[in-house]
Symmetry: D2
Subunit: 224 residues, 4 copies
Amino acid sequence: MNDEIRRALDTLFAADSELYANRGFARRIGFGKRPALVNIDLANAWTRPGYAFSCEGMETIIPAVQALLTVFRAKGLPVVYTTTAYDVTDGPNTDMGLWHYKIPAQVLQAGSDTVAIDDRIAPMEGEQLIVKKRASAFHGTYLAGFLRANNVDTVVVTGVTMSACVRNTVEDAIADGFKPIVVREAVDDRIQGAVAWNLFDVDAKFGDVEPLDTVLQHLQCNEA
Amino acid sequence: MNDEIRRALDTLFAADSELYANRGFARRIGFGKRPALVNIDLANAWTRPGYAFSCEGMETIIPAVQALLTVFRAKGLPVVYTTTAYDVTDGPNTDMGLWHYKIPAQVLQAGSDTVAIDDRIAPMEGEQLIVKKRASAFHGTYLAGFLRANNVDTVVVTGVTMSACVRNTVEDAIADGFKPIVVREAVDDRIQGAVAWNLFDVDAKFGDVEPLDTVLQHLQCNEA
Amino acid sequence: MNDEIRRALDTLFAADSELYANRGFARRIGFGKRPALVNIDLANAWTRPGYAFSCEGMETIIPAVQALLTVFRAKGLPVVYTTTAYDVTDGPNTDMGLWHYKIPAQVLQAGSDTVAIDDRIAPMEGEQLIVKKRASAFHGTYLAGFLRANNVDTVVVTGVTMSACVRNTVEDAIADGFKPIVVREAVDDRIQGAVAWNLFDVDAKFGDVEPLDTVLQHLQCNEA
Amino acid sequence: MNDEIRRALDTLFAADSELYANRGFARRIGFGKRPALVNIDLANAWTRPGYAFSCEGMETIIPAVQALLTVFRAKGLPVVYTTTAYDVTDGPNTDMGLWHYKIPAQVLQAGSDTVAIDDRIAPMEGEQLIVKKRASAFHGTYLAGFLRANNVDTVVVTGVTMSACVRNTVEDAIADGFKPIVVREAVDDRIQGAVAWNLFDVDAKFGDVEPLDTVLQHLQCNEA
């Protein structure tokens, strides 16, 4: 984004923030007692160049997620990855449902290297890799049941894209009873502006957007 | 929004649209065979001034929804309304779940005039009024089961807000297998910019944003 | 049931229990740290004579539920009631979905005395009454989100019927990550045998069936 | 089951059926316009001897499912298989959720031959194989969204076990708006009696239990 557009968005967000403050929106939800790390779609189709789904910002996201993984693993807290992939990408029996009518889902072939998690942040044994078919990590998956059975009350969310899978995961998380914390440096998108406006909406209504340092500090200090 | 901000957003959306076109996003999903009208949170707390939840644009939304109701009713197609309301707004047993940690949900008392559908577009006997607890009309409600049992394959969505309940309903609709059509003149928000950027995201990835005339014309011409 | 049938069922269950023991089924799930009481469909249509839905055993269920209510309320633990009721019982727009094709759901008019909770065990202010449309208390309702937001990990289940709403609620509870405890004296049905065989299946695979005394004793002794 | 037990159950079911007939239960739901075949857990752990999960009746189930597959495939109707399998069977991060507290779920290792579909009825390319974590084929899976996107209104259900995964799938199917038809010869269990009593409950309240011939005849004659 050029400076002019950035300034225009900032002006807009400032006015909107004032309205929200006056109306009682954009409160803090905070951390609960037991967080899980949920990394959304950090697979090659999103993290590497050259795909329809390729996103920006991996030079920031990858180290941020590495830092989070180190802390979550050290504390024995649950780590979940998602990828989006389809077994049948042709004909009416596709597990793409209706989504290919809007986006190029047909390139996300299950089992291919395209949809494998980026090996710079690969899952370790004992960590969950959920193959989802829709935007939200909760929709049509066992994530909510897994988290509740594991006594988790908070989800720390990273990944891409802010305008679809990350945002929709956060919306479902709070609806299902989990406190969502979005790590500012660990999310991105493929289009300009989408990070800014979606983080704005999320922070106002669905979850707290926090810098990486705040999240790491909280994790290192608390009992969880 | 002033002209400068509007121009900045337009510049941003133009660049983003070009990327989406090159990548194969922002396809058309179109109408199916049997649509339902789903009116999101057009209750007094959102449609009338003076509430924390009050929204803009009712001078456009109300007549647009009236026009849609006339056609859906004439054709005997299903009409669904939602409102968001809570029975217990105090203490740990609240049906607000975690949402009051972000937004002023506690003012939405179930059974009050505050959460009753605006009488300019009141439900008729035999139409569904779903009292939801979360942003999406599908989350924690019987909406998906109702629509499938009724052989519906398309949802025409109106109401507020674009940055929460309307958008989240559209996201769940396509995930659950229903084609979402958002009526441009029949949706709004309470903050500036949120309609523009959320319609942009929705049209790129989750459903078609169409002008009222196109929707009315389709309904009047097709067999449904 | 006459003695001959009772003996035949006991013989059957004994053989089945032996197979389950050899195979590693019918384990104990136990109580978690924070239980909620979930009373299924103890509304007049089920608890009083003269309805299509009327059930047996209220002379035992009502005092058992009263005893449970006393303890849950004294401890400030969450109490949830369900009833099953429909707003539109005619035509394609019915919220009965497909269920009226199997059972006489059309008599369960929302807002009527028929579907009101039996006043011998009426909800108190601040307790949840969930109007469900399907068998399970979780299906198409906000129950799972409510329980997770409230930090509940265990559901103590009472009510009717064992062959439908109670059993299906228990199945969903464990799937959603809540430990189900069915109170033996607080559940029943309207047909002979259904309590016996459904408790048998539940105890083998979905939740623990426990006598009222054991449940009360646990509640009184533990920290929750 | 010996003759005495069989007679006792028949006496019980006859009395129960009379009550249901008088009360308006056990109605027929019938076929809709577009069925899908849903084969529950016909993987080696259930279809072959020697496993904790091994079931009876494969000499009847396998040819019945083969006959159904032939017709569904000839008509180009959707075919779905499920298996139940877990990636992490140790420690708190298990995708077994809470189920291993009741049943020996830990033997169902994802990717193993144990949980592969029996090769006598193996999926063909373009057919869905859903790896579920819970009893119901709908719970925590994309099945409902897949079926609705594919315009399916009816599910023909086969497999094992009647006392858990088949029954729970049928309960969710009708709740989600799909007409369930259970094929009498194509379902079984591992314990005596469970087929009889679960088919009885299902037919009374959740779906139609039909002989294979009736189902095949319907499929061959209708337009679907």
